[in-house]
């Protein structure tokens, strides 16, 4: 969504018309759901977290700085919501609940059953690896690898100095590598 359009929608929401919030919700729902699922490990808790984050964001739009982009600000609220849920034990990262409903990529007709099975096994292994690493490692990996945020945006979302992002990413990737090696994955 264009930043100018985003700002205009937020201005209208602030003026008291919640209808203008709908385009923002629809625009940020898919990436928000990806972040929440990857942080919480299951789609039901992720949807609850996402809904709560959108409601909280709406309630605090008055304090939102219009000179900044909406995305990182919203993802900061969502990340805090996910952490709250993990902390309060309302949710626990569990990959058992992740199933085919999450997968959108259609099976490639060119791909043989063996290749499809291998790809599925690799995906499951990665989820298992993510389950084994700490929440802090998982969230920064998700922000970088699944959401594709720049370091400056990650720093804003995680409320850390930009210089710390590279170091945290290194430790998170290293932790994931170790977890995957423990699961039998071999690296060059």
């Amino acid at each position: 969504m264009q930043p100018e359009l985003e700002r205009e929608l937020i201005r209208k929401c602030r003026a008291g018309d919640p209808r203008f919030y709908e385009p923002l919700v629809r625009a940020y729902e898919p990436p928000g759901l990806r972040l929440a699922v990857a942080m919480l490990g299951n789609p039901e808790d992720a949807q609850d977290a996402l809904q709560e984050a959108f409601v909280k964001a709406y309630g605090t739009l008055a304090r939102f700085d219009l000179r900044k982009p909406f995305g990182p600000w919203f993802f900061q609220i969502l990340r805090n919501q996910c952490r709250d849920m993990l902390r309060s034990r309302k949710a626990k990262f569990r990959v058992e609940a992740l199933d085919e409903r999450l997968e959108s990529r259609p099976a490639d007709p060119e791909m043989g059953p063996e290749r499809a099975r291998q790809r599925n096994a690799a995906r499951q292994l990665l989820w298992r690896g993510l389950e084994r690493i700490g929440d802090e490692h998982r969230e920064i990996l998700v922000l970088k690898e699944l959401q594709g945020f720049r370091y400056s945006e990650i720093a804003q979302i995680l409320e850390i100095p930009e210089g710390t992002v590279a170091s945290r990413l290194f430790h998170a990737r290293h932790a994931l590598q170790t977890a995957l090696q423990d699961l039998g994955v071999e690296y060059p």
Partner: protein, 135 residues
Amino acid sequence: MPEPVTSQDLMRYLDGELTPDERLRVEHALAESAVLREELATFRSLRSGFHELTFVETSAESSIWHRVATHVARPTGRVFVIMGVTAWVTYGIYVIAIDAHDPWARMLVAAVAIGILALFAAVIRDRYRSWSEDQ
């Protein structure tokens, strides 16, 4: 002698966060060091695994907008309902507490009132903590 390449430099290189000069320095170090090339290959391999993780894109029908809308579209009504129920329950407890002659009845009413107040305080505390973290 060029500055040694740190793990953070390697991360920035991998993620395209270096300036052209810094990138040249890392590429020079990579050409010189097999260990560094191996480390980079491992991290690249880790990254490629994430490309396999894909998620269902929500359709217009399955969007959570309708769930969000019920919370953001009628805040005034909800506030009035909550205030009304709170006032009604408080008044009920007050009436029973004043009129009840049996001390046990008063104690039970007091216990209920304390319980409600404790729950209310817990909710307020949680909300305040979330609000503080979102600032």
